[in-house]
């Protein structure tokens, strides 16, 4: 009975029950580890983040948007001691958390300009992804589903990943090892790697698992073409030796599948008189006699795969701390020592013990004191090596638009109108009233969620002279409406502006300057200017 009560309590608190009570929480292990590195490196950590800083940061990181004015006021004025934990729980359970994770993973798996025909139409894949994160599907299951690619790209979604690499087993191999194992084999495509242990035989041994895949069109669903991934029972990759020694017309030797630095794949012999099938359009391709791809999917996602769990642990860490414990996260070659080796081991071990529960890992990371430091450190470095201050990163295109819509109240005004229109939203309507094409052109990169900021002057042409004015609507629920109709003091109105856009109250100097600016004439242009300033300033552009 007592035992039952504890587990119920644990579930209510959102804890996973596999951890015994006396084991320290992972968040504490994180803090111990980074603190000992500070001591060794003689670094003074930044102060803890203020409530404003924390609220804005964690909202962007977990639900992909800044909080509304009312949410900001409620959180800042809340005096209960557990309010940060409660906020984290609320955000993790928010449907926008799943959407935000799906946005991130869509870009990890496809990028902005994916190779392959029809891979720009990802509605099926994206809604599948969103569903996985909404149900907190364990990461190994998620990865296995992508790699097994069962069903079709419109209804099941997952098979779209392979559509990028039609008849390109080598490219596919590079993408899979880089994305799921965090290692880069591309050098070994043409020659043995000069200082990593990857040989050309390793490369082609892995590519051999993917040599028999074919992209088959199996029908249409609404606007989307349904693609399925067929697998033949025969066929091999051919290996011709180092690229530098190749001569025209030279035929290569077939290479058998072999797990990276592991065993060769044992394959059953084909039945006597086996005749290879030809895949036909509009018919689901029949399963092969023996699936190499499925064997690869199982091997990659096993908990004891030497790369898989470390790679995802490192990647998720980097999403909240800027820099991977091995950086960059998709190049964890054996020769690279992590900045905090014991921490990476511990995180990986615990993620496996928690059955690849990414929501649990996320909760531990954002609950750590290290994540909750101020980003205002001794240096302005966006991705500090020792995590002595919080990282800064540019908002993604999706986050920028969502945040602008929330801040200006466009969201509210538009939702009221949408109800009347009853139009079916699509993936681009989230960018309304801005044009998806422009937003992606100016803010589409970087999309790896780090501080690798490359925004040049072009983005400012859009911010200064582009379409932002269309967000400044007037209707019920808009920011302009709230300010214009307010009978609060000028200073309180300035606070409302700052809380709506920057999730903080204005300083005295800011109150004075903005009040003067707005008071100079009653023209609403001035209010629009003030909102534009807050929408385009550096403090808004970054998550810090």
């Amino acid at each position: 009975m007592l035992h039952l009560r504890i587990s119920v309590l644990a579930v209510l608190c959102g804890w996973v029950v596999t951890v015994s009570a006396d084991e320290p929480r992972l968040r504490d292990r994180i803090d111990e580890s980074v603190a000992s590195a500070w001591q060794r490196e003689k670094l003074t950590p930044a102060a803890p983040a203020t409530d404003s800083e924390f609220l804005r940061r964690v909202s962007l990181d977990l639900v992909g948007t800044i909080p509304t004015h009312d949410e900001a006021v409620a959180f800042l004025d809340d005096v209960s001691p557990g309010k940060r934990d409660a906020l984290i729980e609320r955000l993790l359970a928010d449907p926008r958390h799943a959407q935000h994770r799906a946005d991130l993973w869509d870009l990890i798996l496809f990028g902005r300009n994916p190779p392959g025909y029809d891979t720009d139409k990802r509605d099926g894949f994206q809604s599948w992804l969103c569903e996985q994160f909404a149900n907190n599907v364990p990461y190994d299951v998620l990865a296995r589903t992508i790699l097994k690619a069962e069903g079709n790209s419109a209804e099941q979604g997952a098979p779209l990943f392979f559509v990028q690499y039609r008849n390109q087993p080598e490219d596919c191999n590079e993408a899979i090892t880089q994305t799921f194992l965090g290692i880069q084999l591309q050098c070994a495509r043409c020659h043995d790697h000069p200082f990593e242990p990857w040989t050309q035989q390793d490369f082609f041994g892995m590519a051999a698992f993917l040599a028999r895949l074919e992209v088959v069109q199996v029908g249409k669903k609404d606007e989307l073409t349904m693609w399925a991934i067929g697998e033949k029972s025969t066929g091999d990759v051919l290996f011709t030796g180092p690229a530098a020694k190749q001569t025209p017309g030279k035929k290569g030797e077939p290479v058998k599948p072999k797990f990276l630095h592991g065993e060769p794949l044992v394959e059953p012999a084909l039945p006597d008189g086996f005749k290879e099938v030809k895949f036909e359009n509009n018919k689901p391709p029949p399963a092969p006699q023996f699936s190499r791809k499925d064997q690869l999917a199982e091997w990659i996602t096993k908990p004891d795969n030497p790369y898989f769990a470390r790679a995802i642990t490192n990647r998720i860490w980097s999403q909240f701390f800027g820099r991977g414990l091995v950086h960059p996260v998709d190049n964890m070659s054996p020769s690279k020592t992590p900045t905090h080796p014991e921490l990476l081991d511990e995180l990986t071990k615990q993620l496996i013990a928690h059955q690849f529960d990414l929501r649990w890992l996320t909760r531990e990371l954002v609950s750590s004191r290290a994540y909750q430091l101020s980003s205002n450190g001794a240096t302005g470095e966006p991705m500090p090596n020792w995590f002595e201050h919080a990282r800064s990163r540019p908002l993604s295109a999706e986050e920028l638009v969502a945040s602008w819509r929330v801040a200006t109240g466009f969201d509210v005004v538009d939702a009221a109108k949408e109800k009347k229109d009853e139009k079916k939203p699509n993936s681009k309507s989230r960018f309304k009233p801005l044009q998806w094409e422009y937003v992606i052109r100016f803010f589409g990169q970087p999309n790896n969620g780090t501080g690798d900021f490359q925004g040049g002057l072009q983005e400012h042409l859009y911010l200064n002279n582009g379409q932002l004015g269309s967000l400044l609507v007037n209707g019920q629920g808009s920011l302009i409406d709230a300010i214009a109709k307010s009978d609060a003091s000028p200073e309180e109105r300035i606070d409302r502006l700052f809380l709506s856009l920057l999730t903080r109250r204005a300083t005295d100097a800011e109150k004075q300057r903005f009040t003067e600016y707005l008071a100079a004439d009653k023209n609403q242009d001035r209010l629009r200017d003030a909102i534009w300033v807050l929408m385009t300033c550096g403090e808004f552009r970054f998550n810090h």
Binding site: A378, Q454, G455, L461, G469, A509, A530, C537
Partner: protein, 423 residues
């Protein structure tokens, strides 16, 4: 890391002491304080200020149909050679205008490079380095922008007109990113402010107040870079007139030849005159796997007309001695003519050319063998090519920038300047 300089802005000490590093007033002064702000060096910077125009032959123009003809050989193709204004030097009949400007250019007939396909070749011939997973190398334009650009100029320091290459500023950071304009030299969408100048100024001042407040109490490299780009965008608004070249085009149409590429070259000259240190002007599509001769017959004449016009125009204005004009694509083309009358990709022996900025005119450097299969004499690698470009621009090819903690020289380690090209 000392807070006063960001990691991308370190210069080689040795290079500074040697004094071969011509620097623009801005970035370097900021970092090296007293050392570079001395009156003497500022004077030298002014004197040394140089420019570079890269004429980019996208897809890979054929050496056989331009400067390295193999008359009477099976690899020779269908065109005839013509004489030039340099006795003993012949070029392809597709280039009558350039034939009269050969005394201004140096041709390198012995290029041997290491990336044989387009993406790798484009990267290589814009950066001097092969693509790498670990280091994002900057394009030559970003490097020239860094050393010859001026902080706070109204115009961007690195302009690309209808061209390829996406390495951008690499590890040098967004300050040196290229500014792309359209194929007719038009400014990108959203270049013009919708507000009247007074309105624009007043909201700018409010924005500046807010940004000042922010940096007063906080350190952030990202916010600093964001603000620098904002300032550059705003200054560009003032300089928009430079891109309006219709009237001038009417007067120069004949000199540059009536083509889109000619118009782009005129814009490049105008930008040089306005102080822009690096302009890249592109022409597509030389990737002639089929019908090589027809493609070159269509593409080369307008290109060479514009190129010749550009050289003449620069010289008449006294700009050629401080403007390096580089002519190159990402690859050369095969000696073998394939079964579709095409030539495929080839990097074992091909051709580029340089002019201006101290380059000796009338020189043909290096040699390919009788059929153009191998370099016979004096091979020039991509590293040597870029070392030569930097040397011409008074930059030490060994000067280093930091990519993270790794020092990266301007031209790859071991590259040699082709000193025979300098008078």
């Amino acid at each position: 890391m000392p807070p006063t300089c960001s990691r991308s802005e370190h210069l080689s000490r040795r290079a500074l002491f040697k004094g071969t590093l011509a620097t623009a007033a801005g970035g370097v002064v900021m970092n090296f304080g007293g050392l570079t702000s001395s009156a003497a060096l500022a004077e030298e910077v002014k004197r040394e200020k140089k420019h570079c125009i890269l004429l980019w032959m996208n897809g890979g123009i054929s050496q056989f149909e331009t400067f390295d003809m193999k008359v009477g050989r099976p690899t020779g193709g269908v065109f005839r050679p013509i004489s030039t204004n340099v006795p003993g030097t012949q070029v392809c009949e597709l280039m009558p205008k350039m034939a009269q400007q050969m005394d201004k250019i140096a041709v390198i007939r012995s290029m041997r490079t290491s990336e044989v396909d387009h993406p790798g070749g484009i990267y290589l011939m814009h950066t001097g380095y092969r693509p790498s997973a670990n280091v994002r190398f900057p394009e030559v334009g970003a490097i020239v922008a860094k050393y010859h650009g001026s902080e706070g100029s109204d115009l961007p320091n690195f302009v690309k007109v209808s061209t390829q290459g996406d390495a951008g500023a690499g590890f040098l950071g967004p300050k040196y990113l290229p500014f792309g304009v359209g194929s007719r030299g038009e400014l990108p969408t959203f270049s013009a402010s919708p507000h009247d100048p007074a309105h624009e100024l007043r909201r700018h001042e409010l924005r500046s107040f807010l940004e000042d407040e922010y940096v007063r109490t906080r350190k952030s490299d990202l916010v600093r870079m964001h603000r620098e780009s904002y300032e550059a965008a705003r200054r560009l608004n003032k300089a928009r007139e430079v891109f309006k070249i219709d009237a001038e085009w009417e007067q120069h149409r004949e000199l540059y030849g009536d083509s889109a590429f000619g118009r782009r070259c005129l814009l490049a000259r105008k930008l040089v005159e306005s102080g822009v240190p690096f302009i890249e002007v592109g022409q597509s599509s030389y990737d002639s796997h089929a019908d090589n001769f027809a493609w070159h017959k269509g593409l080369a004449p307008p290109m060479e007309h514009a190129w010749a016009g550009l050289l003449v125009d620069l010289q008449q204005r006294g700009l050629l001695e401080k403007t390096l004009v580089v002519w190159a694509g990402e690859i050369g083309r095969t000696p073998k003519i394939n079964n579709r009358a095409g030539r495929d990709h080839y990097v074992r022996s091909w051709t580029t050319a340089l002019a201006g900025c101290g380059i000796k005119g009338g020189v043909v450097y290096g040699e390919s063998d009788a059929d153009g299969v191998e370099v016979k004499d004096k091979p020039v690698t991509e590293g040597d090519f870029f070392a030569t470009i930097y040397h011409a621009l008074s930059l030490d090819p060994k000067a280093e920038n930091l990519a993270g903690v790794r020092p990266v020289p301007l031209a790859p380690f071991g590259s040699k300047v082709v000193s025979d090209l300098f008078g």
